[in-house]
Amino acid sequence: MNEQNKPTGPKGPMAGSMQGSQPHKRKSSLTRETLVKIGAHLQIPYNEIVGQGVPDRFVTLIRRLETGEIAASQDDDFRGENAASDDKGS
C-alpha cells in the first residue's frame, strides 16, 4: 500500500468510539434525552413547591401593602434588575 494512501483511522466526533483498542474515554457531552431526564428530576421537587400555591401570609402582606396598612420604605441601595452585579465571573 502506498504510504500516502495508508488509512489514518477515523476522524471526527465518532472517532473515539470507533477505536476499539483505545481505552474507553468518557463522553464529554450528554445526549439530549439525558439532559431532558436531568431537567425532569430537577423539576419534580420544584413543581411540588410551586404547586403549593401562594401561602396566606403573602396574600395578607400584599393586601396590607395595597391598603397602606404597612408601608415599605424605599432603599437607597436598592439593587433591581438593572443593577450592576459583582458576580461577573463563573
Partner: protein
C-alpha cells in the same frame, strides 16, 4: 399613589416560583419565606424602578437573588453556611423514579458549586431563558450557558450517567422488558 392592582396580582402570581427559587438558595423553607417576604417589600417600595411591560417575575427573582447574596455574605462572616442545602430539602420521593436514584440525584445536586446550581435551577426548573437567567444573575449569557452545561455534565458524572439507558425508571423498565427485572 397605590400601584395598579394588576401589579399586585402579578407579584402574587410570582410568589410560588419565588418560593421554589428561594428554597433552592436557602435550603430552609422558613428562611426562604422570609426572603420572599423581604423581596415583596423591597419590590413594592421600589416599584418606580420597574419598567412596565418588562418581565415582573424576572425582576422579582433578581431582587430575591441580590437580597440572598447580601444576606449570605453577612452570614458567612458569622457562621458557616451549608452549601447545597437545596438538595437537602428535596424530601420528595417521586413514585415514578426509584428512591435510590432520587437519593443519588439529591446528593449529586448538593455537590454542585452554588453558581452552577443556581443557574441550573433558573434555566432547568424555573423556565427562564438563558438571557433572562443572565439578567437575574448579573452575568453574561455565555457564563450562564457555561454554568448550566457544567452543572448538567457534573450531575451526570456524579450519577455515572453515560447514556439515557443508565438513568431512571428506564433502566428498571429495560430490565423488566428483557426479563431480568425483579418485578418490584
Amino acid at each position: 399613589m397605590p400601584p395598579n392592582p394588576s401589579v399586585s396580582e402579578a407579584m402574587l402570581r410570582a410568589v410560588p416560583s419565588l418560593r421554589a427559587f428561594a428554597i433552592s438558595l436557602c435550603g430552609n423553607v422558613d428562611r426562604a419565606d422570609d426572603l420572599v417576604q423581604e423581596t415583596l417589600l423591597r419590590a413594592w417600595a421600589n416599584l418606580n424602578s420597574f419598567e412596565p411591560g418588562t418581565n415582573m417575575s424576572a425582576w422579582l427573582f433578581t431582587i430575591l437573588r441580590n437580597l440572598f447574596r447580601s444576606e449570605y455574605r453577612k452570614r458567612r462572616r458569622e457562621v458557616p453556611d451549608g452549601e447545597g442545602t437545596y438538595a437537602e430539602t428535596l424530601k420528595t420521593q417521586p413514585e415514578q423514579a426509584s428512591r435510590v436514584e432520587f437519593e443519588e440525584f439529591r446528593t449529586a445536586l448538593a455537590k454542585l458549586p452554588p453558581d452552577q446550581r443556581e443557574a441550573l435551577v433558573l434555566v432547568g426548573a424555573s423556565g427562564f431563558s438563558y438571557e433572562e437567567a443572565a439578567g437575574i444573575c448579573g452575568c453574561a449569557v455565555g457564563t450562564i450557558k457555561s454554568r448550566v452545561n457544567r452543572a448538567r455534565t457534573r450531575l451526570a458524572e456524579l450519577m455515572s450517567i453515560e447514556s439515557v439507558d443508565d438513568f431512571g425508571p428506564d433502566r428498571e423498565l429495560k430490565a423488566v422488558l428483557s426479563g431480568g427485572g425483579s418485578g418490584s
